[in-house]
């Protein structure tokens, strides 16, 4: 299985500004791939490079085995859904969707049917006659999708397509996009700065910082085994603890400040482990609190509740533990008969060496 899209050593300079700093990437056919990163990290630049709107200063880009150097955007097998949707305001919905079919030799009726089908697919059946500038945000987004998908591109590029929608609409569209992608089988590359969106939708995610890919993995690996403090804090909530790696041979032995010693597996150190001081990460849901009357199972560290945030289904506790610099955040399901604890309650914190991640410094 060769890659559909292959980027090798892509650099992009804007004058003095180094926007992309050596991107290596392979995206497989039919994959839902996300580029995730904070604002200004170069996600849009990378997407526009693939689309053909920016020429890389250095490096090679291949799509379906073909070198894309010098191939203009209109001749690439990619289509794009722009962040602003870029719906043509002087055309009707149907004319917008049919725009890419201008050079299509099929007879008029067939094209009209293709347009109707495309609109049906995105849930806008019967909207063809509407004026495009009078649509709502969600409808525009669907028109943009239909307009791109009608050309059956090898790759669909989406630049933060959901960021302009309200929360409810966004959640609906996330599910619809996933379904759509499975149905059409087209490779999707999604740009987003919303880690939750990336986790929900993607087969694989590349996390970018400052023009570089910091980590590339499937959502579960990315969440459970981030390779650096930066990635860990960008995705979900993570507690950071200081400590040291005592031994990094066949067995990796660690000592976590305030919690104690333990042994971790090599998978728990995605960036490798070397003896010496290091940072550990632990997710709030892998820690738990011993409630009054419960038998503690596993290793327990004594602490005091410092902060309580109630979410309805969950409660987040910040628990101060002696020897740990920052209070640890612990999320607990609000099960039947489990009281919400008050600030100041002395509690035990259960932790497991298997849920530790050794982070690169």
């Amino acid at each position: 299985m060769t890659a559909l899209i292959e980027l090798k050593g892509i650099h992009k300079h804007y004058g003095d500004y180094h926007a992309l700093r050596g991107i290596d990437l392979e995206i497989r056919k039919g994959e839902f791939f996300s580029l995730l990163g904070p604002s200004g990290c170069g996600k849009t630049t990378l997407l526009r490079t693939i689309a053909g709107f920016e020429a890389p200063s250095q490096g090679t880009l291949r799509i379906d085995g073909r070198d894309m150097q010098g191939v203009p955007a209109n001749l690439r097998p990619t289509n794009m859904v722009f962040q602003s949707y870029a719906i043509f305001p002087h055309l009707s919905v149907a004319q917008n969707v049919a725009f890419g079919l201008r050079r299509d030799p099929r007879p008029r009726e067939q094209k009209a049917r293709a347009v109707a089908d495309a609109l049906e697919m995105v849930g806008l059946g019967g909207y063809g006659g509407r004026a495009a500038h009078a649509l709502s945000g969600g409808q525009r987004q669907r028109v943009a999708l239909a307009r791109a998908l009608i050309l059956q591109p090898k790759v669909l590029l989406l630049d933060e397509p959901l960021s302009a929608l309200d929360k409810k609409m966004r959640e609906t569209m996330q599910v619809e996009l996933i379904k759509l992608q499975r149905n059409v089988g087209i490779t999707f590359i999604l740009v987003t700065h919303d880690q939750e969106e990336a986790l929900i939708m993607s087969d694989r995610i590349a996390v970018m910082f400052e023009g570089e890919i910091a980590q590339m993995a499937d959502p579960e690996t990315l969440y459970r085994r981030p390779n650096s403090r930066r990635v860990a804090s960008f995705i979900g909530k993570m507690n950071f603890l200081e400590g040291r790696v005592d031994e990094a041979g066949e067995r990796i032995l660690v000592d976590v400040a305030g919690l104690g010693r333990g042994e971790v597996s090599p998978e728990q150190a995605p960036a490798g482990a070397t003896p010496g001081p290091t940072t550990f990460g632990v997710r709030p849901e892998t820690l738990s609190i011993v409630y009054p009357g419960e038998e503690p199972q596993g290793r327990v560290a004594p602490g005091i509740v410092d902060e309580v945030v109630y979410y309805g289904d969950m409660t987040y506790y910040d628990v101060r533990i002696e020897g740990v610099a920052e209070p640890l955040t612990i999320s607990m399901k609000n099960l039947m008969g489990r009281p919400v604890l008050d600030v100041g309650t002395p509690v035990g914190v259960i932790w497991d060496e298997k849920s530790l991640v050794v982070l690169s410094r």
């Binding site: 725009f99 890419g100 791109a148 050309l151």
Partner: protein
Amino acid sequence: MRRGRLLGIYTIVYLVFLFAPIALLPIFAFNDAAIIAFPLAGFSTRWFERLWTTPALHQALQNSLFIATVTAVLATLLGTCAARAASMARFPGKRAALGFIMLPIALPEIVIAVALLIVIRQVFDLPLTNWSVIAAHTLICVPFSIAILNGAFAALDPSLEEAAMDLGESRWSAFRLVTLPLVMPGIVSSLLICFIISMDDFVLAQFLTGANPTLPVYIYSLTRFVDSLPLIMALGTILVTLSLTLLVIAEWFRRRGAARAGLKTSGGLL
């Protein structure tokens, strides 16, 4: 209250000052007397009839229409290119370049006129023709064209053209199919405004006109003959009506363009 009243009086005085002289035009244009003075002598259309039968006037009108039409097209063409570059392209020295293009608005026309006269006659030793007037008028119209079209281009989402290219169109056809229709009201507006500016100009034409004068230059030559004053009034009436009509049409196009792109109007001339 008092301030409101004073402001009201000021507004009225200002408007009278501004428009009373123009209001005199139609009054005396239809007055049945060769002398411009009250009391009026009765209604007559004879001045308009005389305009109709003056061949020199027709020649001047023809010149003016030709010059204004060519100027409008040239200035709008250049203005479109400049406005597009200003809104979409990035290049070093962009601001300085645009500043220089806009400069003629601030220069006294007589300076431009003399400078062009020297260039044409002394440097290149070319005869003065309608084309020398067209060159001068284009020079002063381009900044207006840019000002009008800047609004139209700045309101455009730059990704529209990219979207068209992404959907398979070349750079030029993306411009033709998407950008052009969206800025078309601005272009029409610019054509009309440039046409009016060229039609109205006296200073540049006076210096640069060839053997055949333009309409304003011809009117000026008439003022030497006292008995042709009502004739000027009649001509003036026609020109003012024409100018106002074109201006209103131009503004209508500009607003329609803004509305079509789903925008609130801002700026513009009316």
